[in-house]
Symmetry: C2
Subunit: 440 residues, 2 copies
């Protein structure tokens, strides 16, 4: 009988698991450095938690189910924000203000698997609730950047592309789009790569964007301004006054103050599909633009209220493991063999074959492990110490401990597997010697 | 609109998440010390992966589903062994021998939630495949004990109850049970607490256990022998020769050699419901016996073959987070407030209110975080330094960094929040000072 993992899911053998854990460690370390606390929720939720916000349309992208004999509809979580909003709403009165939470859960989407998109994936979620203003937005963008930096990415490797719903709305209104058509303009913007140019032109005209206005709209969308540089370029591309971009200017100052300017650029083409964003929105892309977004998020001040809590300003993002893993591998920031990321054994214990050594081995191994050391030993029947030492090196142990004739004097041979040096040491001294830092 | 988490699942707010992470850290650290590598599989599998081994009867305990428009049946994983066996079978030719794997996934059971049993829980799985013998069995039991010891449990707090399918089979045959009824005797043993005594007696008689044989059977089941003590007590309770218990004697020697004897006792009443165990079986219980098993496992030499791989000896166990969490809390081994387990901030940065300090704060916070420090700051509008320092203490920061008049000379006040001492330090020196170990 042969079984396979479900389509779009992954088996994590040790090498793949080590890569996943490395990414998660960077996420977690950056979160803690920025003062976020970890949370998690159930892997499945009531189906209505997702349909309430996104409507019934989302149901086809969900894995939904019932318990046999039960009457409640459930769905595997496709994203974290509804769980987060539910949890924040449930304890709104007791929780500290602001709430700073992160999570590293897995998510599920019943889509066709493709490059950068799987049916089960891991995603880092960071949210700051109960505070607002450009400094908060910059802090949330900063934690995303900090994780990428910890993974070895530089500001030249990725682009944090930032827009602002309010500034973008001012722009489209200044170009002649009526107030009630602003949402339609965002939707058009978000879907412009999915339609032929003629359809785009027709739809833009219906919103009031034609001729010179459309040209300025497209020019503004094509103009990217490095954060810290003059926003006037963007204003003149759009044909509007620079002070119409006040939200971007305030955000720029906060990003500069937090040392983030080299990573970030303003790009009004960033819309984010989700309808709930209310201010800053951003996506992080690999610099060449060849992959899907590494991360995306923004300000969503209305969401906690939608899930039964008080009105709460909120800013957050999600960063998945799949695209990020592709980018890291492409930049040579992951070892070719993920096994190199596995923890190295402190010691590999070998018996030279005497009965006393065979008897001592399990005892010594147990004691060193109880002291917290990572200790391995051979499972081979061979008595050939050379073969056993080769096994120790293959498993990347720092030291081999050879139990032989010296055992009669309470000693063992300690061999440094990097330098090849070996010397007899007292068994009672072993733990101290293993604790010494590795030599360069 | 009010939403709740699904019945039998948990919301992990920071305090609960910190407890979960503490338990997982003990599992992981013990696994690594013993030389096991981490793996994981998909959260859901093809339904047949579970029904193949356990039959259709298991379907009612599974959360199963289809993708809308799809034709494959899936189920949320109720346990790890089928995934593990599938993964081992798929790469049997390339994987090292022995395979030493651990995992800390979540599992799902569509049962009625009750004390110690939820619909979603986390479970540590440890498996050693491709090697056999009592030393291997002792190593696997040893890693379970090591994790409990890391969590603060002592050998007087828990009992590792061990039996052996071969020894137990010899016993029941010696009492007159026919070869073909041995499996029936195990099943009866496993279910004896779920039936009235008369039913037990009737069924035992049908298997050939009546009168003196039944008395000796029950006497053997009641007899518990601390590992390291004389097995003769158990043999004479059963009315059999001590050398019929050879498997237990070999296991005893291996457990003694690995320093595990104080934790372990032989208890032939341990059967484990699953049909696939072939040798050593064990459960870990809280010493008073008042909770469900903390862990359970054993040797299952036929399983990898069943999933399409070569014949592979295997030994493993699972340890869930729910019962373990109850036992730890009951023994006072978890803080009353899980927030105490959260990482402590290295520094809490405060502006005394001057414009220069307000401007420096985000820059300093960003730089210290980039250096890897856990840095927090206030989000309050207040300029009252006393209130801000109270905030720093409440968040358990080691140091407060106060940006005030000294900033003109490139210095800040560094306040040790434990001792209350404070002194002006150069901003350029801050990172070195924060790196110094905390004083006792």
């Amino acid at each position: 009988m042969k079984f396979q993992s479900p389509k779009g899911t992954r088996d994590f053998y040790p090498a793949e698991m080590a890569v996943r854990r490395r990414i998660e460690a960077a996420w977690r370390d950056a979160s803690v450095a920025f003062g976020f606390d970890e949370i998690d929720g159930p892997t499945f939720e009531h189906l209505e938690l997702y349909t309430a916000k996104s409507g019934e349309g989302i149901v086809n992208e969900l894995f939904s189910f019932r318990r046999a004999g039960g009457s409640d509809d459930y769905a595997l979580r496709p994203e974290f924000t509804p769980t987060l909003a539910r949890m924040a709403a449930a304890r709104a009165a007791q929780l500290p203000v602001p709430i700073k939470w992160f999570a590293v859960p897995n998510f599920f989407r019943a889509e066709r698997p493709q490059r950068g998109r799987l049916r089960e994936f891991y995603q880092w979620n960071v949210d700051l609730l109960g505070a607002e203003g450009p400094a908060i937005d910059a802090e949330v963008i900063g934690v995303a950047v900090a994780a990428l930096a910890r993974l070895g990415l530089k500001h030249t490797d990725v682009r944090v592309k930032i827009s602002h719903r309010v500034a973008a709305a001012k722009l489209v209104r200044a170009l002649g789009v009526a107030e009630e058509s602003v949402a339609g303009a965002f939707e058009l913007l978000d879907r412009r790569d999915k339609m032929p140019p003629e359809e785009f032109t027709t739809r833009a005209a219906a919103l009031g964007l034609a001729g010179d206005a459309l040209a300025r709209f497209e020019s503004a969308l094509r103009t990217r301004v490095q954060v810290g540089e003059d926003l006037g370029v963007l204003a003149s591309a759009a044909g509007i006054a620079a002070d119409e971009l006040g939200e971007l200017a305030a955000l720029r100052d906060a990003l500069v103050a937090a040392d983030l300017a080299p990573w970030c650029e303003f790009d009004l083409g960033i819309v984010r599909g989700l309808a709930y964003y209310t201010g800053t929105v951003f996506e992080i892309h690999e610099a060449s633009g060849g992959e899907r977004a590494i991360a995306g998020g923004g300000r969503y001040d209305g969401l906690v209220e939608l899930f039964g809590g008080p009105k709460t300003p909120a800013m957050g993002f999600g960063m998945g493991d799949v695209v990020l893993g592709l980018v890291l591998a492409d930049r040579g920031l992951l070892p070719k063999d993920g096994n190199e990321l596995l923890p190295r054994p402190d010691a590999f214990v070998v018996s030279a074959g005497e009965p006393a050594a065979d008897a001592e081995l399990p005892r010594l191994v147990a004691r060193l492990r109880a002291d917290g050391f990572h200790v391995r030993h051979s499972y081979k029947a061979t008595r050939n110490v050379g073969k056993l030492l080769a096994d120790a090196s293959k498993q990347r142990a720092r030291f081999a401990v050879i139990l032989g004739a010296e055992l009669a004097e309470g000693r063992a041979m300690l061999k440094d597997l990097a330098s090849g040096e070996q010397r007899p040491v007292a068994l009672a001294e072993l733990a101290n010697l293993l604790r010494a830092p590795a030599q360069a």
